[in-house]
């Protein structure tokens, strides 16, 4: 039953551009895919190890800038830039994690916010490297060249949709493998009761830093995808708003689950756009805040776990 369902879902996703031909809708789906990768990455830290990192936009931005700069200034092919962005963001995650995972709770949150704040200010002021607030325009789109066979440029939205789908699926698969392994169980043990986990031999710092590295690397990959899609990178990628959006997606979707962040990403990418059709921009954000309040109050576990328990109850009753 589950396999059939998954198969149908995969088929639908693959065939999507055939019946969604409106470029605006495809754009929304692409952004949803990028945010799905981001939400999955934040979920590793927030949902599985229980550390609320509110500086995640920093890794997103580092990935975006690294990819953009390497392909613009050094003429690297986009695929190499993508790989490098992922690695660089992962290294940043290692550095930040090693240093800040001595702290817990609200202090960890504040340190991560501060790192993101500093990266924002650096990207704004270090004109020689990042071109400051003017940003980096003209970031190249990915090109797949097999000499003599095919020369495919991922400029069209449909093509980019498949690229994002592939990366999102790979991220999901990676998180799935990680979470269902010994490492994943260590994460959950640390989240539930760190002292107890350490007493049975789970090295807290090592696993938390590992989570930080993978999480940051995924965020960097998302940043690279973003840079080569919008083809313009500016310090705005470091804005706290992106981190808040990611956090909302993870928590509202269901932290600690794998489907939750994806559902949250799709929902909270589509929702602002849908609200934009209905009301003006300022009301949209106010409603956003109110919606977050309602979800925290009435669906504290998130959408996916709540629905899952409803389905279980319904199945149990009948």
């Amino acid at each position: 039953m589950k396999r059939v369902g998954t198969g149908v879902l995969v088929a639908m996703l693959l065939a999507l551009p055939a019946w969604v031909w409106n470029p605006y809708h495809l754009h929304i789906l692409i952004m949803a895919g990028i945010f799905a990768v981001l939400a999955l990455s934040l979920n590793l830290l927030l949902g599985y190890t229980g550390q609320l990192s509110l500086g995640h936009a920093a890794f997103f931005g580092i990935g975006a800038y690294a990819s953009a700069l390497l392909t613009l200034r050094l003429d690297w092919p986009v695929w190499t830039g993508f790989a490098a962005a992922t690695v660089l963001a992962g290294l940043a995650g290692y550095g930040v994690g090693k240093v800040s995972l001595k702290l817990r709770g609200a202090y960890f949150v504040l340190v991560t916010i501060s790192f993101a704040g500093v990266t924002y200010l650096v990207s704004l002021n270090w004109m020689e490297l990042t071109n400051g607030p003017l940003g980096l325009p003209g970031v190249p789109a990915p090109m797949l060249t097999i000499p003599g066979v095919v020369r495919l440029s991922f400029v069209s939205k449909a093509a980019y949709y498949y690229l994002v789908l592939a990366v999102a699926a790979a991220s999901y698969a990676l998180c799935h493998r990680l979470v269902h392994s010994r490492i994943g169980r260590a994460f959950v043990a640390l989240r539930e009761n760190e002292a107890l986990a350490e007493s049975v031999g789970v090295n807290g710092t090592r696993y938390l830093v590992l989570a930080a590295v993978v999480s940051a690397a995924l965020a960097g990959a998302a940043g690279s995808l973003y840079a080569h899609y919008t083809r313009f990178v500016s310090p705005e990628v470091f804005l706290f708003m992106y981190t808040v959006t990611m956090a909302i997606m993870v928590v509202a979707g269901g932290k600690g689950t794998l489907a939750g962040p994806v559902v949250g990403a799709v929902l909270f990418t589509v929702l602002p756009e849908a609200l934009r059709e209905l009301t003006s921009w300022q009301w949209q954000m106010v409603l956003y805040g109110v919606l977050l309040l309602l979800i925290v109050f009435f669906l504290p576990k998130g959408i996916v776990p709540t629905f899952a328990s409803w389905i279980r109850e319904w199945r149990g009753a009948s």
Partner: protein, 293 residues
Amino acid sequence: MGRLETLLQHLLNGLILGGTYALLGIGLTLIFGIMSVVNFAHGEFYALGAYGAYLFLALLGANFFVALLGAIALGVALGAICERVLLRPLRGESIETTMLVMIAVWIAMQNTELLVWGGVAKSIDHPFPQAPVVLGPVSVAPLRLFVLGAALALVVGSHLLIQRTRLGKAMRATFQDRETAALMGVEIHRIHTVTFAFGSGLAAAAGALLGPVFVVYPSMGDLAALKAFCVVILGGLGNLAGATFGGLILGVAEELGAGYISSGYRDAVGFIIIILVLLLRPSGLFARVERIG
């Protein structure tokens, strides 16, 4: 201006700014310390104070000082409502839940301000003369002297409230050991509401005082909130004297950094302080080393 005069001028500017940072910090350290709430909306109460002053002055034509008091009252009232309606039902929840609620309040408040007042910055008129007062080697605008005086008065008032009144004693008891305080007859619900209202009122005061100095715009609270957190971390959680000195230190550090290093990275000073203090001395610079048992 000679080197010494420049330094003194920077120090004075830093102290003036630092006084208002101390107000922000005291409010937040009480909220963070007594209620364990990471109040991301603290900056929004700061902005509320500024917009409140604007409202009373520009639209209702009130006297400048009445407008200031009105803005503070608005902050206190809204803080009390916020605590009663949003935070009290979530009393036992995890810290992430309360953090997200405060983030939601932050989003809602800031965008409501954007909706109501628009994004164009507003300026607040003040009755003080424009000509700077010259005090030996330094000069300062009369408005800024008033800000410094008012901020210091509020800081001293807060200290007196916490140290010399029964309410303050109850707040200190709740901070030290909530269960025992409850057993001793302290109404924890009431203390929480009072703490949040008081902290928000102080933030609104800071906003109302700085509103005429700078301009008023919807996102002015964001940086204020981060600086408030910086002050709390510098001074140590729940440490009022620490928050006071922390605020002054941050103000002076920012001024010196902006003056001597680079004004673009001015706001980075707060972030860097947070990072350094949390990594090197997490209990804050002023925490008394108390050993219990």
